[in-house]
């Protein structure tokens, strides 16, 4: 039986083959021990600080918001080693892998950010990494594929299904079910079966903790809203976790609306999905009338996932967090605007959160303090965006 709660209200759980239960239980036990082990915590903190570059800055924007009532800060996870928040929890899970005496790491990746983070942590800690990536994503994220291979990871293209993140997760789970004795499945987002959503949240919660301390120091008060993009939802849950009990702080997750949530081409599992089971968890998923999982779509590969982490499902269900969406076009506009106005090139994923924040800022009629989690940097997206904008610049 589980030592930690395996569900968030009705959401989450462990909908996996019986075969994987011992490995998930082992992971849960090792995580609990590690959380109470000063040596583990010290090593994790040391890596976060001296290897990954924490704490990350909280930057007050100067030019991008024109409404004088609004103050907008950016939590700069884009400055973290690896280029995105992903590095935080990967370091934590890589340390857990070693604690469990496992020598191999299996991971899935969409945009390649989690794969890159996994590759770097495994290079550092002497683990053998194999990373599943949808064949389509291998093509559209070539620089990250090279980066992973450069750091010694094996990248395995997945042809089955839609050839994107969801299929990479399937393949990683299949691999794990044959190799759990020597391999850890280093899941990359706050989704999947228990205990992953809890572990991923706890290993990212410093994002919100640092933000809280930094905003209190800078502004002397808590923000009115913290805003983060949501695919599976790891950066958002990391930002939200420490604010959940601060009832006056609005929590806003921004899903990818793709070509519009009225179309079939989006990834807004909360806005348009229904409850069901995918990858081990009961949550909001995109499915057809027969219960087959639908393919999601987003200009940003990191948000292109037809489900959402179960704790977000719960925060939506209880009303504690609000979930909005931003289209490809809105995200691309925010991407360019941040570059032009603040000299920061954000990841396309993070651009979704920013796009919502800018829209909300325009409409604000009273003094409003907002923080956007700038979860990653946009270097990986440059070529892709250049194609979209050809002729415009």
């Amino acid at each position: 039986m589980n030592s930690l709660p395996s569900k968030f209200g009705p959401f989450g759980g462990m909908y996996v083959p019986e075969l994987l239960i011992p490995a998930l239980d082992q992971l849960e036990q090792e995580f609990i021990k590690a959380q109470n082990d000063a040596d583990f915590q010290q090593e994790f903190m040391d890596l976060l600080k001296n290897y990954a570059g924490r704490p990350t800055a909280l930057t007050k924007t100067r030019n991008i918001v024109s409404n004088p009532l609004v103050t907008l800060y950016l939590k700069r996870e884009d400055l973290l080693h690896g280029g995105a928040h992903k590095t935080n929890q990967v370091l934590g899970q890589a340390l857990l892998t070693k604690r469990m005496g496992k020598t191999e790491v299996i991971a899935e990746t969409g945009a390649g950010q989690h794969g890159t983070a996994t590759a770097l942590a495994c290079a550092l800690l002497g683990l053998k990494a194999r990373i599943y990536m949808g064949a389509k994503d291998v093509e559209r994220q070539a620089p990250n594929v090279f980066r992973m291979r450069l750091m010694g990871a094996e990248v395995i293209p997945v042809d089955s299904g839609s050839g994107t993140l969801k299929d990479a997760v399937n393949e990683a789970l299949r691999d794990w079910s044959a190799n759990y004795e020597k391999a850890h499945y280093l899941l990359g987002t706050a989704a999947g079966p228990h205990p992953f959503p809890t572990i991923v949240r706890e290993f990212h919660r410093m994002i919100g903790e640092e933000t809280k301390a930094q905003i209190l120091a800078a502004e002397g008060r808590l923000p009115d809203e913290v805003i983060a993009c949501v695919g599976g939802g790891s950066n958002a849950i990391g930002m939200f976790a420490d604010f959940i009990d601060d009832k006056d702080v609005g929590l806003v997750g921004v899903e990818p609306a793709g070509k519009g949530i009225h179309t079939h081409e989006h990834g807004a599992a909360i806005a348009k999905g229904t409850m069901g089971i995918l990858h081990g968890a009961y949550t909001y998923i995109m499915q057809d009338e027969d219960g087959q999982i639908e393919e999601s779509y987003s200009v940003s590969a990191g948000l292109d996932y037809p489900a959402v982490g179960p704790e977000h499902a719960f925060l939506h269900y209880t009303g504690r967090a609000r979930y909005e969406s931003a289209t490809d076009d809105e995200a691309l506009a925010a991407f360019q605007l941040l570059a032009q106005k603040e000299g920061i090139i954000p990841a396309l994923e993070s651009s979704h959160a920013l796009a919502y924040a800018l829209k909300a800022a325009e409409q604000a009629t009273k003094p409003t303090l907002m923080v956007v989690n700038l979860s990653g940097r946009g270097d990986k997206d440059i070529a892709h965006v250049q194609q979209f904008l050809k002729g415009a610049l």
Binding site: L19, S160, A178
Partner: protein, 268 residues
């Protein structure tokens, strides 16, 4: 179930001092009409019971052969309703053969538990195994299955500890699906679970008969498993592979399937 078809089957086999051979195929693979003929051929070839899958977009417990079978069925627009219609026809043709479903939980959830099990009972299904529902999440499914007189089958994996095996033995109804090895379905890696030790333990806990599956593809394995005390053996990927190899010649496919089942059955 007016009469329990699994019990009847196991009693008959006990008298014959033989084990069961249970082939698995995907409902609707490659299309509805052919699927009905395929499943009938399995019974005609000597199958003691049937394990039938519902195609699902994300089958995390399946290897390439069964994944492809699901893709073929979905590509031919097989819906849940088609699967139930195939089942009803098979039940009409083969009133005594135990029919088990092996599928993924979202298909059941999406239909609604009560509605799904009601349809399954209506179609003459005897058991349901959910590949992604471990004992820990099973209760609501078990209760609903029971309310519709359908057995809820649990998987006993080789890495389960004694406490888990005890729970599985006491709660799996109809039979226990003994996992032949770690990993996903497929013939690439042969079953290697310590069958005898597991069967002995499960029988100490007075569980239902154990039927072994995963990595079973030839008669020698069937013979060995039954020699070790298993009440039967399931072959999925090996059966589906025959379908895959004969997609353009259905008569040849059906006779190859019959021959395969007869050969596997002869090892019981």
């Amino acid at each position: 179930m007016a009469a329990d078809r699994y019990q009847a089957m196991f009693s008959r086999l006990a008298e014959e001092q033989r084990g069961a051979f249970v082939p698995f195929v995907m409902l609707g693979d490659p299309d509805k009409a052919t699927s009905i003929e395929i499943i009938s051929a399995l019974v005609d070839g000597g199958a003691d019971a049937l394990e039938l899958g519902f195609p699902f977009s994300d089958p995390i417990a399946d290897g390439p052969v069964i994944q492809k079978a699901g893709i073929r069925a979905l590509a031919n627009k097989i819906h849940q309703q088609d699967c139930f219609e195939i089942l009803s026809e098979i039940r009409r043709r083969h009133p005594q053969t135990p029919i088990g479903l092996l599928l993924y939980s979202n298909l059941v959830f999406h239909t609604g538990l009560d509605a799904f099990y009601a349809k399954a009972a209506q179609a003459g299904v005897d058991s349901v195994l959910l590949a992604d529902v471990p004992l820990r999440e099973a209760e609501i499914f078990q209760q609903t299955a029971q309310a519709h007189n359908i057995h809820h089958i649990l998987i006993a994996p080789p890495n389960a500890d004694d406490e888990a095996l005890k729970q599985i033995a006491s709660q799996s109804s109809g039979y226990i699906y003994l996992l032949g090895r770690a990993g996903v379905t497929g013939t690439e890696t042969a079953a290697n679970a310590p069958v005898k030790a597991m069967v002995d333990k499960l029988s100490v806990y007075k569980g239902a008969p154990s039927v072994i599956g995963f990595g079973i593809s030839n008669p020698a394995q069937v013979k060995a498993a039954i020699g070790d005390g298993a009440a039967g053996a399931i072959a999925g990927s090996a059966t589906v592979k025959i379908i895959e190899q004969h997609l353009h010649d259905v008569p040849a496919m059906l006779s190859a399937l019959k021959a395969f089942v007869a050969e596997m059955k002869s090892a019981t």
